[in-house]
Symmetry: C2
Subunit: 215 residues, 2 copies
DNA sequence: ACCCCATGTGGACACCGACAACATGGACAG
DNA sequence: CTGTCCATGTTGTCGGTGTCCACATGGGGT
């Protein structure tokens, strides 16, 4: 499968835009993941259907089995994509911040990271839940990468800026992540499901306050 | 369906223990929920299969459709059971606490409630995830009932005991629940999945510390 | 120029959720 | 006591899905 992934880079990418030119698609794996991501966006992991994904990609069922061992394997690829997108949005949000001194900046960044985490979950519920529910056991939390990486970086920054005492640093990441992730999940499928937007935002700000205060 | 639920109480309950006596089961709805809960315990919502549940209950497929509109309807019933069990365990844990004054007691109760929440999730991962993923939109968070009810009661107690300023009370429940729920979810399917037990417990205590401090 | 193997195809099987038509027998009216 | 009615359970069926199998194709390396 590494060879397949590498081939994706070597083969010209316009195969799909020019129409399925021939027997061999040339870029099937990526195309299937695209389709599956779209399915996940539309309705979560349950909506990701192998046969339908193949159909929409213009290829016969079973073609997918040359690129994925399982349906679960495809789901795992979707999960990876979702994680990447979440990480990307968080990095973007955090990096486009420019206020006063390093202390205020670090604090603002922590809040911004948390806010963006929740906003992504609310904006892309299907992709978000799929990302966490269907991750492969192996590539879960390769420390420093993914959303977790963004969080640890911001927290380290907070220590460097002198806002967070170094002895309080261990474990802070888990608390922050848990609070924000829990809030997102409760908003998506829990009792905070149909809270009006304004109220939800207010609750989120309150949560961010308390978490920062408790660090 | 109310009539069916009421009949469960009127009909003698030993039908299942004496063996399926005849054409009419007499207690099918409850029996099917039992079986489905067992399936959910074993492997989460994905493991809950209508036909198999009917089979194991000693009844033909389709019999379930007299008691549940859908597979989703059955899952909702399982969710309800899971919530009840979670609430029960939390209440039990919280009530069997007896330390010093009202302030210490209330604080200890908050921690105990959170700890038990996570322990339930870890002990019954399938039931826990099913309970939250498959809840009916309607009976989600009937304020005062369910796990949420236990939490609000404990927080109110904290205010009465003078530990938590009244002006900080609003929103405290959301933060507490989010933190604990998020931690549970991250332990089940997230990056904290295969953390050794001791480390996990330590992280949980740290989280409880920070949450209490931030309230 | 040739062959080989990665990639895609068509067919088959078991299983599932859902619907429809039919069977059974307990409860209740007369 | 008897006859009927309807809630409950049964068999049959349909479309859809995941997965395995044997086979077809053709581009890249010898």
């Amino acid at each position: 499968m590494d060879s397949a992934a590498r081939k994706v880079d070597t083969v010209n990418m316009d195969v799909r835009t020019t129409g399925d030119r021939s027997y061999h698609h040339g870029n099937l794996r990526a195309a299937l993941i695209d389709t599956a991501v779209e399915q996940a966006r539309a309705g979560g992991a349950a909506e990701v259907v192998l046969r339908d994904a193949a159909r929409r990609t213009g290829v016969s069922h079973n073609a997918a089995y040359r690129h994925f061992a399982d349906r679960d394997d495809l789901l795992a690829a979707v999960s990876e994509r979702g994680m990447e997108e979440l990480e990307h949005r968080m990095r973007e949000r955090v990096s486009t911040l420019s206020v006063g001194g390093p202390a205020e900046l670090a604090s603002a960044r922590l809040r911004a990271a948390g806010r963006e985490y929740v906003h992504f979950a609310l904006a892309e519920p299907g992709l978000f839940t799929t990302a966490f529910t269907c991750a492969r056991p192996k590539d879960v939390a390769p420390v420093g990468h993914g959303p977790y990486g963004v969080l640890t970086a911001v927290l380290d920054e907070l220590v460097e800026a002198g806002v967070l005492p170094a002895e309080r640093r261990p474990g802070a990441d888990v608390t922050c992540w848990a609070a924000v992730h829990g809030f997102a999940v409760l908003c998506l499928e829990g009792p905070l499901r149909d809270l009006p937007d304004a109220e939800r935002d207010a609750q989120l700000e309150g949560l961010l306050d308390r978490v920062a205060r408790g660090l």
